[in-house]
Symmetry: D2
């Protein structure tokens, strides 16, 4: 089994900010892909905002099992058509892992149906991430907690729907808390949001963070053939009803007519 | 206590289809509002697609506790700005009850983050709705099940996120099942989807259906002052951190700068 | 409307520990009941371990809308029959609010189906409780966070099922986090667990804590007539099937026979 | 990878009822184990009520990845100590699949915290099971629905907590519906309840049912080392607090003392 993964990176601050370039000389996406490729079953490549169709043409999404998404400064530059394409891929079975400032990405907001907002502070403070669901596939092999000496504070309330599962909660030195690891199912696709990853800190070099990312890919992987027609609303006519019935009463739709959308 | 309710009706088939007009001579929305006004604590008015801003200007939403939504043929004609306005009202605490073909309304899809699709058949068949959560506020006073002699079949799979609660499941004569009553929380707003209500049948004259609608309004009502700034992501600067900390490390943002969106 | 509430207190450390008696001279249960009675719609009394049937005979539970439970040193002394009686009351519609060390009470473990364990430290450290669900009925009127200058540390992982809703999360000075306010539905009864309340600190004198308790009572209240026969598994014989069917095939049970349990 | 599975069968009606013996000459548990062993990664054995410790000594549970449970006539004969042992195994990471009349087993009620009751009818009627979560690991490869020509009717309301996921819903010829496939997480263990399987019908010979069972085993499998001390509530003393703090205020517990239970 090989899990085909694409790490999508906005790739803006790596080009414009010397601090970020210093930490991630090949881009954050490359660093994250490297972390994933340490697992034998994962084959991770990258895509960036600047590529044609942001590196996510339909054909590539069709063969992607899990997509990771890191964006920050240029959420608004992501083409709506690509966002919708990614959403359909998720509903049809592709896994999606949204990272850090990706909480405000179009795709995360699209799939959550909520503002996905939070409070924040950029102070290099210490974060301690607690595992609330030991031995969950995403927390496999982790200690009870791990620490990041410097992270951006993300604080509650986090404007998300009630998660299917809360698997990690972050403690911040400045006094805040945050649901740092939460899961959702959207159609046949599994979605994981993971809070660490501010670009001016070396978060994606941290061994614990890298393990979480690998775990999350394994968890989000759905080996079944992708669903098709995931937005269709098919008519099942009377003669194909599982139980024999006879039509009666007034109707809006003639035989074979499509429903309204 | 008075619960201020607006019943939003698309008001299309009532104007164009004699069958529908025969059943609902004043419009479906008026019939639904009448059902609600049978409860002393509810004060229900109506709004329609054809009114300015679809009858939902900001000032009216601001003073609405619960909004009901019935649409079918003209989902695409609803202005995106109004949809977003309603979404923000829900996040800030307004209740929302989505009816029948409203599963494909822009507002429901917006809040769910999924296709909200289903299979369907217009055959006048019998539906029997089972209460799966007895004594839930939405099912209060209902028998174990109630029947609608003719309803449109809506069949699984229903393309929604896992509901917070499944309070009713429908059985159809033709052999299908459907999660006919499901609840969600989106921000501070409660959302209820209720499946019955095809316009060529007298569903909203049914006493059980009317009771569910009144129950749902009481359940969805949030008496607290509406939240403000529900999409903001406020910076909490170092000097306002709950615990005393000192900023350190590199930063992207200067003091007082807004975050990226 | 009057909400009839019983505050159940173990009433052990108030008798044996001078510090606790000093803070709660009339017992913790009395202090909590006083907090509730500040709301005009609530009529709260008390019950203690030492009373006959622990103060919870069937007749009293039958007329109780919401029960609060504080216990710590004597969980094992609570009669199993009373625990089962309370469980049935919850399933039939009574609200239950479990406080602090009540995480290890028989009734909470009975209703959760999990160990309900946690880590702990008694160091008088500061706790800051963050609201994760603003404008939820339980958090109504609260600020973004409130602080308790001294609380017992309760740390994750908390051995509970995934909550229906996580409405508050606690930050501890010593570095831990905890899901401090979580909700569940069990049958027709709503259940709320609230973490603060160590007996050697004046927690139940805190205005924010008192507000949460009042809010939780309003939220947990179910005004419907209590369900009956909540553990029965009724046979619905062929002649009473909603749809006409004819029995066929081999059977284990003769007509009118009860099912196995 | 080999998934070690034990199929627990009550093995009563196979011995006492000629119809059941005719359908399952080697016992229902053997038939179910055969279905599982058709998958190369699964190594399934059996255990029965009549064996010492019901075939579930601690050493065997320790090496079991997933346990399936079928019981009906003799729930009361299952030793409470074995039930608690199984519960701890689930919390520590063992998967559990509860079948049909196992809804009333001690272990299922223990893990749910609710009555787990339902209504029922033994009439050989047709059931049609709809997939509500296409491409979920448990429904992988299934058609939209499958039919069992004869099953015992199990009807709502089903006295369970709100499921983490509802993956299948059953339609019954006599007019009822049932949440036929529901999932839960309890500690590190995944739990699946699957409704079909009345002993007087050949349900476990059905190819679709057998596929669901295999799928469920793969889904419930947790390859991580089993958690230990899953019911402990460890004290984390001041000197081991992640952040440096100083103890202050009154205390109940001396250093090193255990907490109350």
């Amino acid at each position: 089994m090989t899990i085909r993964v694409v790490v999508w990176g906005e790739n803006v601050h790596e080009q414009t900010n010397a601090v970020v370039r210093g930490i991630y000389p090949n881009g954050m996406h490359a660093c994250i892909a490297d972390a994933l490729n340490e697992h034998a079953a994962i084959d991770a490549g990258t895509a960036t905002l600047q590529e044609a169709e942001h590196g996510l043409p339909q054909a590539r999404l069709d063969e992607t099992n899990v997509l990771l998404w890191w964006g920050h400064a240029a959420h608004g530059d992501v083409d709506d058509a690509v966002v919708e394409r990614v959403a359909e891929a998720v509903w049809s079975g592709m896994g999606l892992i949204v990272l850090h400032s990706g909480h405000f990405s179009k795709i995360f907001k699209r799939l959550m149906g909520t503002p996905c907002n939070l409070s924040w502070r950029e102070a290099g403070e210490r974060e301690r991430i607690w595992v609330t669901a030991p031995n969950h596939p995403i927390t496999a092999g982790l200690p009870q907690f791990f620490e990041l000496e410097s992270e951006e504070m993300y604080g509650e309330p986090f404007g998300i729907p009630e998660p299917d599962e809360t698997v990690m909660i972050g403690w911040f030195q400045g006094g805040e808390v945050f649901r740092s690891g939460v899961t959702y199912r959207r159609g046949a696709g599994r979605v994981f949001y993971f809070q660490p990853g501010h670009e001016t800190y070396p978060t994606y070099h941290d061994p614990m963070v890298r393990q979480v990312l690998r775990n999350a890919v394994l968890w989000a992987y759905n080996g079944e053939p992708r669903l098709t027609a995931v937005t269709d609303a098919p008519n099942r006519p009377v003669e194909k009803a599982p139980e024999k019935i006879t039509a009666r009463g007034p109707r809006l739709h003639a035989d074979g007519e499509e429903g309204f959308r």
